[in-house]
Each structure stands twice: as structure tokens, then as C-alpha cells.
């Protein structure tokens, strides 16, 4: 079914190399915080993810923040995790988000609450990412809820999910990715790529299974200006793969910001050459304002116009 309502989807269907980015909502209720971030991204990216209490730290809700940014003229991708809501809350939020005009969703299992500042919180995790994809796809395509209720006006969502080329066990992760495809996912955003060799091998395995023809894959790029941040990611962020030569390069760079942009641009240029990669997803942590420069340096600006 053609999804005219999602700009990200339309861009992909038109064959453009898509650029997405990410914003974290504030710890607080300030809508201007979102508006400011939205304004420097406008024109440089085709879709912007809003994280759902990432790393299990309480922030403004992804749906509310996305609505505010959408009003500033951005195409938004809401992230929804299964960590904090059961099937009742999750489906309700999908309906609400769609009613607000939000048209893209990235469905995730969610970071465990012990990573955040509320390790004593009760988790939910009733629906894993695969089950969430199936449920939202059934809502969008068939207009039915998990309980079988039919909706007169079903939600409209372009359905995305995450894929991690660097997680173990590799083959089991592939099986899970295939389950996501079978359940109705339409696009993937990958974990941040620093280990290009591993990513190339992963894409080869994705192509062997024909998944690149069924879904759109956006490669994850995490621009950073700090060797310390790279070390932290290597050591503490579950599922990240940061080779030592990357850290060494940043360590030795005189102008770290310039090097950070250069590294991101090089990664974008490399993934662009890989068959099956349909775009990039930029997720600079605590450096979101660098996104426009990375897009320009990678010769991805201006963005093509699509309905």
C-alpha cells in the first residue's frame, strides 16, 4: 500500500538517499527547547527521531515533543519503546500520535531501566520490538487491535525498527531482524557504525537474505568530537563496537571538531557505496547542532523536495 502520508517514505520511494537525525527531548516541560532544536535542523534532514526516555531517563514524552517539532515544519519519527507501557498503553499512544498527525514510528524494545536514574522502577517489557511491529502493522494495515477490535479510522504510520550489526549472537540477531521484516517493518535505522568492516559483512548477510529489497536500511552515524566519548561508548554502551584505531585517530587530531565531522562524512560516503543502504541516520550525542554541517560536508545539502 502506498503511504503518501509519510514524507520519509515518499523520499525513499522516490529513490533519494535519505537523511534522518535525532533529538532528545528536555528533562523539563519547555517547548522552546524543542523549537530551537527543530529550527537548526529544518531543511537539512528528511526526518527527525524523537527518543522515548532514552537510556531510561525521564524526559518529555516523545509524542508531545514530536508534535511541537512538527509544528515547526519538521517531519518527525516518534520512538516508542515497550519498556514502560503494556499493550493497552502502547496501542493507545499509537492512536494518539496518529491523531496528532505524526506519521512515522520507530519501535524499540527499550533500554533497561537499570541504566537510568530510576533503577528501582518496575519495568514492563510486555511487548518486545518484534511483537510491537506486528501489532502496529495490524493496526495500520488491517485496522485491528491486538484484542481483535476493529477501528473505523485506523492510525497511519510508516513503521521502523532498529538493527544492531554489532550485537551477538550474530545469526540469532539476523533471525530476529527477519522476524521484524516478516512482521511488517518498513525501514531500519542501525546502531552507530564505527567498525566499517563488520558493517559491510553485516550488509552482505542482509543482502544474502534479500532483506535489503524488502525494507529500507538507514545506516547509523554518530558524529563525535571526543576520544573520551568514544572510549566510554566502547566500554559502557551495550551493543556498540568502537575499534581502537578510531579512538587513536580522534586522540591524535588537533582540531577534534573538524576531525569529528570528517570522520562522520567519511563514514557516510562509505555506506553510500554499499548496496542496500538507502540513507543515513545521524545521531550526534550532546552535539546535535553539528548535524547541518555534516549534511553539507557530505554533499547531501540541499535536500530534494518531495511531497
Amino acid at each position: 500500500m502506498a503511504k503518501k502520508y509519510s514524507k520519509v517514505k515518499n523520499m525513499l520511494d522516490a529513490g533519494h538517499f535519505v537523511v534522518c537525525s535525532e533529538m532528545g527531548p528536555p528533562i523539563g516541560a519547555d517547548p522552546d527547547f524543542i523549537r530551537e532544536k527543530a529550527n537548526y535542523l529544518k531543511g537539512y534532514v528528511d526526518g527527525v527521531n524523537v527518543t522515548d526516555n532514552q537510556t531510561a531517563i525521564v524526559r518529555m514524552s516523545s509524542i508531545a515533543a514530536a508534535k511541537i517539532a512538527m509544528e515547526e515544519g519538521l517531519e518527525m519519527i516518534i520512538q516508542i519503546t515497550g519498556r514502560d507501557r503494556n499493550r493497552i498503553g502502547l496501542q493507545s499512544d499509537i492512536l494518539g500520535a496518529s491523531a496528532l498527525g505524526l506519521r512515522n514510528v520507530l519501535l524499540l524494545t527499550g533500554d533497561h531501566q537499570t541504566f537510568g536514574k530510576d533503577p528501582g522502577a518496575k519495568n514492563v517489557f510486555e511487548m518486545g520490538s518484534v511483537q510491537l511491529i506486528k501489532a502496529v502493522n495490524d493496526m495500520v494495515e488491517d485496522g485491528i487491535l491486538i484484542n481483535g477490535d476493529e477501528m473505523k479510522v485506523p492510525p497511519k504510520m510508516f513503521i521502523g525498527a532498529a538493527a544492531n550489526p554489532f550485537a551477538d549472537p550474530f545469526e540469532m540477531q539476523m533471525i530476529k531482524m527477519q522476524k521484524k521484516v516478516k512482521s511488517g517493518v518498513e525501514f531500519f535505522q542501525t546502531q552507530a557504525i564505527y567498525n566499517m568492516e563488520k558493517f559491510e559483512y553485516w550488509m552482505e548477510e542482509v543482502r544474502k537474505r534479500g532483506m535489503h529489497e524488502e525494507v529500507d536500511i538507514l545506516a547509523g552515524i554518530l558524529p563525535t568530537r571526543s576520544a573520551k566519548a568514544l572510549r566510554m561508548m566502547k566500554k559502557y554502551v551495550a551493543g556498540m563496537d568502537v575499534p581502537d584505531h578510531v579512538i587513536k585517530r580522534m586522540d591524535q587530531a588537533e582540531d577534534k571538531e573538524k576531525e569529528g565531522v570528517k570522520m562522520a562524512v567519511e563514514t557516510i560516503e562509505k555506506v553510500r557505496e554499499i548496496e542496500g543502504v538507502r540513507g543515513v541516520h545521524l545521531m550526534p550525542v550532546a552535539w546535535e547542532e553539528i548535524t547541518p554541517e555534516v549534511v553539507k560536508e557530505a554533499s547531501l545539502y540541499p535536500r530534494p523536495e518531495v511531497e
Binding site: D111, H112, G128, V130, Q131, D168, M172, K176, G239
Partner: protein
Amino acid sequence: MLVAEQKNVKEIIDMLGDDFEKLLIVGCGTCVTVSMAGGEREVNSLAEVLRTYYASQGRDVEIETDTVKRQCDFEFLDDIEEEINRNDLVLSLACGIGVQHLVERYPKKVVLPGLNTSFYGATTAVGEWSERCIGCGECVLDKYFGICPVARCAKGLLNGPCGGSQNGECEVDPDTDCAWELIYNRAVELDKLDELIDLVEPKNWEVYRDGGPRTLVNKEYHED
């Protein structure tokens, strides 16, 4: 079995308070004896610690001890009726079930918990116990080659590992095995990886405690 650990002594002393002279500590001879939290040995050593403490405070407290076979069975609770009656306060070193069963059998007595009931688990090394089951009410071990993702995956994932699984370790705690790594390895060993390909629907939690507190009736033995 149920695995439990003893509350710390300070917490127990605060909980017991000042308003008693005779204390009965009741141990349990089953699960918590195995998990070395509430058997005869632990009952006696806690009694010694408390006697020393109350003596140091100049308080005249008499402490009696007994360990029954199972606190979760009334037949074993009947045996200690006299001891219960002659003491002001009862400290149970059983799981939460044992504490409540004592309360039900002796409703006029204040019974306090000396343990934190932790989980259903197995002894995995000397002095180490690990969670293996959550009592979800609908066993899925057949689907996962005998390794339970509901109890052993931090996120209870039924369709595969999360993106945080690396080198066989759980992202939540590197000392915990990733349940999905274990399931995957078993599947490879048994040459049954294809059985993990199909989507597993969300679990029915109505048969867990989400459906309300559960009572199980075996009609062969139980008349309405």
C-alpha cells in the same frame, strides 16, 4: 525452590521494636534451609546475635528458637502452638508464604518477616543461587530448548536477543549470561535453529499474577 536472604540485623532489630520480652524465632526446614537463609543453623546464629545485642542494651529479652519442616503447611505449624502462645512476638525465617501461613494459623499473634524472599531458583555454586523461573503460569520451556527467556532475559524477550547482547553477556549485568545466547547455543547444538524463526505472540499474563492472586484447585482432591 524459593530462594531467600536474611534481612540485615539492624533492620530486624528496628522491626522487632521495644515492646516485647519473649521472642520466638521460627525457621523453616525446606527451601530457605537450602538457600542458607532460614534453616536451623541460621535461626540459632540470629538468636545468638540478638541475645548479645539485647544484653548489651541492658534489655531483658528471652529468645526461643524452633525450626519446623515446612511453614507453608498447617500440619507442621500445629506442633509449635505452645511455643507461639508463650512468646510475645514471632520472627519467621521462612519465605513470605511461611510468614503469612503462620499469621493465618495464629491470627492473634504478631508475626514478622526475617527474610527477603527473592526468587525461584537453583543452587548454581556453593553459596550462590540463580533465578530460573517466575511462575508465569504457562510454561514455554519447550519452545526455548529448556532455557527460560521469561525468567532469564532481563527484558523477558520471546523473539530473540536485544541489541545489547555482546560476547554472551547480558547488557544489564556482565556476570549474567545472555539467555538468548544460551538458547541460541542450545538450538545450534540440537540442530533446531529453524524452530526459532517463527514469531512468538505476546504472552498471556492473565495466568500470571496480573490476572489477580491465583488459587489452584485440583478437583481430584478438592471438593467445592
